[in-house]
Amino acid sequence: MFYVDGYTINLSRGDTGAIRVKANASLGDEAFTFGTDDRALFSVKNGQGETIIEHIYQMEDNEFTIYFNNSDTDNVAAGAYTWDIRYIINPYYDANNNIIDGDQVITPKEAQTLNLLNVVGEV
């Protein structure tokens, strides 16, 4: 099962899903478009602050798609988690190509809920 209610994501463990994310951005009175080097970071964490899912996306016309793969949650316990999206303008990378900072880091919305639902059968 996979559905989104407002900003709450509901996903059965191990299920796949795709969410199209469209950013509405403005700089002053002008529309703002993220560049090809800019990135969107989608993160899911548990109550202990441990990262469950972390995906980085390049945007096109301020849009990107979050893909949930089977391996993202197949071995994760059912329950409530938190997620958010952070936009990084001109990201900085470490030696391992991990994003460590950027010219600007923007978190448009406070952390929301991802409900990971239990399943009966196991893949």
């Binding site: 099962m1 969410i19 469209k22 009966v120």
Partner: protein, 129 residues
Amino acid sequence: MSESNIPVVTFDLQVSETTQAPLDSTLTVSGMAADAAAVGEAIAEARGALQDEIDDITTAFSGLAGSLFPVGSVIGTLSAVAPAFITGATWVEIMIPATWGDLEDGSRDYVDKTEDDTAGSLHFWRRTV
């Protein structure tokens, strides 16, 4: 840094029309070509077998209209009636057409219908994860 250089951003979420991750994303599809013949045979066998199981499957999935079901949700049934279909598969999706059972209004029909809808239409993907 001047605040005037920081864009104001909001975002909207939209569940994609198909909630299946594309094959060219992070999934490995090696082995698909070699297994095409076996998958085709297994699909034909599973279709015939599942026609006898329609009532059971409808009962199991009522209220979950429009969802995609990992094989884990039905593998107990399929493995009993179509073991060849399961052998070697690491992950399979099954989409249930809107004409089956008590699916709610608004459920999406992703599959190509046959002329005989009573037989149902099944669409299987087989992927190596």
